[in-house]
Symmetry: C2
């Protein structure tokens, strides 16, 4: 299913452009990353995106223990101090919400109404998950590992603790960590204190926060967040396929200065530089292109290094507009697996993984 | 002008309940404090509310200097190290956006669509403003001090650096500080790095971030944010009166567990405790009352101490519902100046200072 192009959508403001009170309730709780924070290699604390399904749990770290059970030889109950006694491992990870871009879809799937800001890059420090699973002696018949958080709520009519699973082969990756630090400081409450999972390359729903329990199981997990949520479904009857790794995306720092209310940008005439970041969960970013005419023509940006295999790349592009007037700036990324951002999105019931190109309208004005 | 009561508004979902794309753009950038963070005396970094008029400036602290000029005997240009060489002063301050509650008004003033989350309490460390003004030798003919930030944008058609003023007598208060630390760490970029003003008791627009210049002037400042923004106006022609100190407000941690999409709460039958915070910029909180029947009857909550004269008070209230069913929980605060939260708000063009009582619908269910 294809939606109308963004260009035609803009012709008239449709009912679909109106956000409901319930969506607003979510938007005022969950935090986007203002796009000018793309200036930072590592997103400063408090600017990283946040999507919290239920409430942030209040956890007493001194009483907290992590349970490791199911198909293991030696079930474990581990304190935070015991976790900290293992050698620490730090991974730099760009993490994006699977719903990023949802509110740009038509018709708009009703959930957290992200536009483009649901992303951030952090340094996560903790213990490799594999270390703990080796300590517990993972059974040979285990096929998935289920991660259960302390956050509890109702979703789709089902009361639940938030829980997601990973196949054993995905869980045993070198850089899958149980993190107790973010950007060199203690894990903040809203990012999963005292312990969270971090799975590089995957959308954020995978990296379960406020971990309570890790359970090895012998068959695919059927929890709500695996079987109903986070699937690409054409319609309500479609069982769909699972949402996993992040599709490629490039975002730029909107240049110039904004209007408070419309966020419309004004840019003085003259040479300027666009800067941005690009990432993909399917492989390194191999190309970023920029358009200044709404996607009619594309030009290569200069792609810089990333802070690690799972961190975004910086990029830059020099531009000198021909004259004053209206321009639509766009950027798009391609990854080593051959995935490229589309000009028009493909729609799904949950509004996941909409990585259509960013569009930044700017007004170029004669310099004073 | 009075709006229809919240009760009648709820009867049907009106067009006014729909949020525009432009408002959503603001809601995805600006951060509310999820209400369960009311559990914390001091709001953890990253959970404090954020309202950013334009963009977060990127500032090189080593090159940054603060200018103090205008009606002073000795104009100053001060580095961050020079500011840090003064004795440090820490104030614990509850800060709220003047627009908190705006999106609960009907008709809804179109701007950042806050519901209730635009608040937070932080420890701000820096130099008392008075110290710097004394160093510069404030002229006897100065009547206001103008604070100009590095953040630049267009608002109401006017291109501007964000700027606000204070009368000299308000600026010279003991606890008005130029802060370079928040909660014991460096000021984060989004909270005004490297230096911001903090004016206890006033709505947040007063506490200018990313300070560039402090200027003593001989007459009332006529900048946009003083003369057009942040005024209580009945209509566009009304010059209005200025928005200054925070009206009293009480908020509770919504009890029970939420539904993901509706945020509707479910609470098991049995004894429970409501906890919350209350504050006012006009004096200490003297009373917090709770209602469990939508505001028909009110009961005193137990009000605890605050962490300082400008910090919120904790409060608690024990409740045992009569039986399963639907309840509407409310709370309201009164301050020492006699101000009390209203049941229905008074409307103004900018949607400022809507401190109508919080309402939390809950479904009480028989315990399993």
């Amino acid at each position: 299913m294809r939606i109308r192009s963004r260009r035609s959508k803009r012709a008239g403001r449709t009912k679909a452009d109106e956000i409901s009170r319930e969506e607003l309730q979510l938007a005022t709780r969950n935090h986007g990353m203002p796009l000018e924070a793309l200036h930072h290699d590592i997103t400063p604390a408090g600017l990283h995106y946040l999507l919290i399904h239920y409430d942030i749990p209040v956890i007493d770290a001194s009483a907290w223990r992590l349970t490791i059970d199911g198909l293991v030889d030696r079930p474990l109950s581990v304190s935070l101090d015991e976790l900290r006694s293992h050698p620490a491992h730090t991974v730099t990870v760009t993490m994006e919400c699977a719903g990023n871009g949802r509110a740009r879809l038509t018709p708009r799937p009703v959930s957290q109404p992200w536009l483009l800001e649901a992303v951030g890059t952090a340094e996560w420090t903790g213990v490799p998950l594999r270390t703990l699973l080796d300590d517990a002696g993972l059974g040979g018949d285990a096929v998935e590992i289920v991660f259960t958080g302390h956050d509890r709520g109702v979703e789709g009519g089902v009361e639940q603790d938030y829980a997601r699973s990973l196949r054993v082969e995905d869980a045993m990756g070198d850089d899958v960590v149980l993190a107790y630090e973010m950007n060199g400081g203690p894990l903040p409450p809203q990012h999963g204190f005292p312990l969270r999972l971090v799975v590089p390359g995957w959308y954020g729903m995978t990296s379960v926060k406020w971990l309570a329990r890790i359970t090895a199981v012998s068959e695919a997990f059927h929890g709500y967040q695996q079987e109903r949520g986070y699937r690409f479904r054409r319609d309500d009857a479609d069982p769909g396929r699972p949402v996993t790794r992040m599709a490629p995306r490039s975002l730029m720092v909107p240049p110039g200065i904004p209007d408070f209310m419309t966020r419309r940008r004004t840019l003085p005439l003259g040479r300027c530089e666009f800067v941005g970041r690009a990432w993909s969960g399917w492989g390194p970013v191999t190309r970023v292109e920029v358009s200044t005419d709404g996607g009619q023509t594309w030009h290569d940006a200069q792609v810089g290094p990333s802070a690690g295999p799972a961190a975004w790349h910086s990029w830059r592009y020099q531009w000198e507009p021909e004259g004053p007037g209206e321009y639509e700036l766009c950027c798009r990324a391609r990854d080593a697996a051959g995935n490229q951002q589309p000009t028009t999105p493909s729609w799904n019931v949950g509004g996941y993984a909409n990585n259509e190109v960013q569009r930044v309208p700017v007004t170029v004005v004669a310099a004073n």
